[in-house]
């Protein structure tokens, strides 16, 4: 079992695997998105208190989940990378970061778009939204650090360390923001206390979450392939690839 994992940890093997996988993942993502959006915007009934506007949670909630899950995935690959010193771990973390940042940003925007018609303000210092904002900053920090360091190996390892330190801090940050919020705000405006979930709504959000998950896997496969070609460009197997040979010719 372990041998198979290490087999796929070699960039050359992963390149092939990712190449076969990503079109399927993209297709699944597309299909699930359609299904999720259909449930969210067509099938699910309008809410008694919030009307049609609440439908944005079908994007907001899955996006928040994804931004958290992706950060955990980055921390996971970072631990792997620092322990086993594999090149692929650094590439996976780098490939995950922009997508995670995008979902965090999407979550913040959809939160604002929800807030405006519901409570009249573009931004609320709700504990969840504030923690999401800080998570977004953590993503930006990782991306800034890895972009600023020229040496690829050092950049990967430094990024891995900050990702791990960030991951350890996320629960602490969430707890302190929650405390701060209950002290100052009172509990009135809470995006988490959405209308009581009908089965259908839960299904809709779940499908959207799975769609985003499939999308993430697809885009990460694609990005890692690009990173592999870039970093391993001096090896024979990369030079022999159809796409590279064609470009060189």
């Amino acid at each position: 079992m372990t041998m198979r994992w290490f087999y796929y940890a070699a960039p050359q093997t992963f390149y092939g695997l990712a190449g076969r996988l990503w079109p399927w993942l993209a297709a699944i993502a597309f299909a699930l998105t359609l299904a999720g959006l259909w449930i969210g915007f067509a099938l699910a009934p309008a809410d008694a208190q919030q009307g049609e506007g609440y439908r944005i949670i079908f994007v907001h909630v899955p996006a928040s989940w994804m931004s958290m899950v992706i950060y955990l995935a980055m921390a996971f690959w970072s631990v792997l990378g620092l322990t086993f010193n594999t090149r692929l771990s650094g590439m996976m973390t780098r490939a995950l970061a922009p997508t995670g940042a995008m979902f965090a940003f999407l979550s913040l925007w959809t939160g604002a778009l929800w807030g405006k018609p519901m409570w009249g303000t573009w931004w609320v210092w709700d504990a969840r939204l504030t923690s999401e904002l800080i998570l977004f900053f953590l993503y930006l920090g990782y991306i800034a650090l890895t972009s600023a360091i020229d040496d690829v190996r050092r950049a990967d390892r430094a990024g891995a360390l900050i990702a791990i330190v960030g991951a350890i801090n996320v629960p602490i940050i969430y707890f302190s923001v929650k405390w701060w919020n209950t002290l100052h705000q009172g509990a009135s405006v809470s995006l988490t206390r959405s209308p009581s979930m009908a089965q259908l709504m839960l299904w809709g959000m779940l499908l959207m979450a799975l769609a985003m998950w499939a999308y993430t896997l697809a885009i990460v496969c694609y990005r890692v392939r690009t990173l592999i070609i870039e970093r391993e460009r001096h090896t024979d197997w990369v030079q022999a690839l159809a796409e590279v040979a064609g470009a060189n010719a």
């Binding site: 800080i134 900053f137 800034a144 650090l145 430094a158 360390l161 900050i162 002290l183």
Partner: protein
């Protein structure tokens, strides 16, 4: 332990012989604290309300300004390699450097903050709580900030990059530190805040030297 104290004394000596670098951080704190009343207006009630927060953010930014200095000089003149190649535990040596850095950059902020608090018309017990919360909070800032400083050694855009990396991680300390003074002012009592600050201080002191050592080895590769 001899190595720990030798390094602390060495860094303190270096700081005293390069006073300008140290004092600039303190002056920054004073200037920032003065900017807020200028921007918001001198109304006493408002100032009393925003005072603890402003002073805490000012202290945070001032500590952060001095972070690049922590390892930069050692890295440039080769003494960092010396530390890494020493048979003494690197974590202990790093802790010595962080401690010296706090003595020179953090502790003066603790002393200065109550004085600046007078400009915000804060009552005496609030000033005391401000000093106490900073006393517990500034070492945590030095510890977490050191990790950022170690990761960004010699990297372009160092100072701002450290800020981006480290400010989000400072949020819990800020919330409970400034919150302690708020709690005192509103009569709720700051026991919980102080306990939590202590609870953050101990793991920071234990975990940070280890993370810094890893970061320094990565930077030296």
């Amino acid at each position: 332990m001899n190595a720990f104290f030798t390094l602390v004394v060495r860094d303190l000596r270096l700081a005293f012989r390069r006073k300008a670098e140290v004092l600039s951080g303190l002056f920054f704190f004073v200037v920032v604290a003065a900017l807020f009343p200028l921007a918001i207006g001198p109304e006493a009630a408002t100032l009393r309300h925003i005072g603890p927060g402003v002073l805490w953010v000012g202290a945070l930014l001032a500590s952060m300004l001095t972070l690049p200095r922590l390892f930069e000089n050692d890295w440039r003149d080769g003494s960092l390699e010396h530390l890494v190649l020493s048979p003494q535990p690197l974590g202990l040596l790093v802790l010595g450097k962080i401690f010296a850095h706090w003595l020179v950059s953090g502790l003066p902020l603790v002393a200065l903050a109550p004085l600046l608090g007078l400009q915000f018309d804060l009552p005496t017990d609030a000033l005391g709580m401000l000093a106490l919360s900073l006393l517990l909070g500034t070492p945590v800032l030095s510890c977490i900030g050191a990790i950022g400083a170690a990761l960004t050694l010699g990297v372009r855009g160092g100072g701002v990059l450290i800020a981006l990396l480290v400010l989000p991680l400072f949020v819990p300390v800020l919330v409970f530190g400034a919150g302690a003074v708020e709690a005192l002012n509103s009569g709720l009592g700051a026991q919980a805040h102080i306990s939590i600050l202590l609870a953050m201080l101990l793991p920071a002191v234990c975990f940070s030297p280890w993370a810094c050592s890893a970061a320094l080895r990565i930077a030296l590769e």
